[in-house]
């Protein structure tokens, strides 16, 4: 369990994270979402005690992580797959980590097999692809068999098979009762991975809820209506305050529910051939929620 309370971090005059409060619970995969520069990596570093908060507290299983003399049995983490020395072999890198935490050497072989790197254990990390480095980072996170796992953008650089493998792994780790906290800047990655979502933008909390609740937030529900009297109906709906886009006999309506549109059509004896509500996708919900807080917008939309 990760408990973040009033967490604030300023670097000079820049506020990276502002008054964040949320809880990441065991037994679930929790997605940590936000646009680039939202403060996700900063938050993960604060959780791991690598950076000192300017204000607020963060604990892992009831204690600040930095109070633990050795970390790997408490929290396994993958912050950046490149945070390794390319001159070492995969096996030597993991052996040094294991040894520092008094983890038996046999565990190195186990985790290398688990992530599918057993074949290249004796090869130097410098020659690894990003996907292989991600697997190595996941292997390092698993070394101590910890109850809490943190991953910063673990799907970057993985091929589709790798993505599927990582999702299954996260699911299994959560089913084993572990706390699994995974950051991403892509909603589509989390859609099939996470049970819970923590969404931040510009360092502030936007949402902390289940994936289902989050998807229901999509305010922009579209209703598609098919009718031979498209022009007449469009005028009626616009008069009711809806926004209507017409394409031949098909109208795309926002601002009215399908039920209300049906009533209006019945009142005016307009036959309908098609009536369908389409919820905004999670991706759209995410874009909409974080639009105000996206730090680096392309084009002149500022």
């Amino acid at each position: 369990m990760i408990e973040v309370s009033g967490l604030t971090k300023r670097y000079g005059g820049t506020t990276a994270v502002k008054d964040l409060t949320f809880t990441v619970r065991p037994g679930q995969v929790t997605g940590f979402l936000g646009p680039n520069g939202a403060g996700k990596s900063t938050t993960l570093r604060l959780i791991l005690g690598l950076h000192e908060p300017t204000g607020g507290t963060v604990t892992v299983d009831g204690r600040p992580f930095r109070d633990r003399p050795r970390g790997l049995r408490h929290v396994g983490s993958l912050l950046d797959a490149h945070d390794v020395h390319g001159g070492r072999t995969a096996a030597a890198h993991l052996f040094a980590l294991a040894r520092s935490n008094r983890i038996p050497r046999s565990r190195v072989g186990e985790v290398l097999r688990e992530v599918g790197l057993a074949e290249v254990a004796r090869r130097r990390i410098g020659g690894f692809s990003l996907g292989m480095k991600q697997r190595l980072g996941i292997a390092a996170a698993l070394l101590g068999d910890p109850p809490v796992l943190l991953f910063d953008e673990p799907l970057n650089g993985l091929d589709p098979g790798g993505v599927k493998w990582v999702r299954d792994l996260f699911r299994r780790l959560a089913d084993e009762g572990r706390t699994v906290f995974v950051s991403s800047h892509l909603m589509s990655e989390m859609e099939h991975t996470a049970d819970q979502l923590i969404v931040i933008g510009r360092g502030e909390l936007i949402a902390a809820e289940s994936l289902a609740e989050f998807s229901a937030r999509g305010t922009r529900q579209n209703v598609t209506v098919g009718t031979p009297a498209a022009v007449v109906l469009a005028d009626l709906l616009t008069a009711e305050g809806a926004a209507v886009r017409a394409e031949g006999e098909l109208l795309t309506v926002t601002g009215l529910t399908a039920a209300r549109i049906g009533e209006i059509a019945l009142e005016h004896r307009i036959p309908l051939r098609h009536l369908d509500t389409r919820s905004a996708s999670l991706e759209e919900a995410f874009m909409e929620l974080t639009a105000d807080s996206a730090q680096y917008l392309a084009g002149g939309s500022r």
């Binding site: 109070d67 050795r70 790997l72 408490h74 912050l79 945070d83 040094a96 008094r102 009762g177």
Partner: protein, 279 residues
Amino acid sequence: MTAQLAGELRVTEPRARFRDLAAAEWIKLRSLRSTWIAYGVTALTVIAINVGTAYDTYNHWREQGAADRAAFVRDGIPLQEAFTINAAAIMALALGVLGALMIIGEYATGGIRTTFAAVPARRSVMAAKAVVLTVFTTVFGAFVVGISFGLTQAILGSRGVGVSIGHPGALRVVLASTLLAPVCALAGLALGTVIRQTAPTMVASALVVIVLPTIITDGRHWSAVVGHALPFQAWLRLVTVDPAPTRFPWTTGGAWTVYAVWTLAAAALAIIAVHRRDQ
């Protein structure tokens, strides 16, 4: 996976031991091929400079006058050639950089975050680094100095002017030259930990280890004091068996103290520097 299914996962953890951290740092140091190449090249260079100097003396022996030959041992030249000032300068420079690399390598790659996330007790990690570096470079120094002493005195011996380790001052030359290696390496480690950037650390290390001791002279009292506080000048004092009288003389005890203070201060700085700063 050995986790239980239901309820809170229990963490069973053995007691944290310092020697595991030292072992891990030793694994990290020895598992880099560059470690062996860099220390190997340094050793070969230093030994080659010493042996080359002794070989020059051997070659030009017949050109020397009888008086010079007679004064050779009395003037302490066999010990000067056992570990020459050029060899010491190269070794000091290289070891300063190699000591710095022990931590700079982690800052440059980002590996430091992996290290400190695995061991939140950062000061213990740095203490382990300092211990491993000290032991490794002391063994390195003893190896390079021992080989240099043996080879140079064997070469000089064939002209009848080689000395043994029992010769007055010989042991001090060997000891001071050996320990120059860990003193400079720890200074590099401390600078690297504080500065964290590769290029500035290299410059600072070269400055402290070799440039400043060379340009600061004994001309004035203050510059003599500053110069004497630097490890390379301490080495010079220790290997000079019979120093010429100067306005600001100092004792070998003072020079040993400089070694000790640099060792302790560098280790302390490396350990303290990581505690408060964001990593």
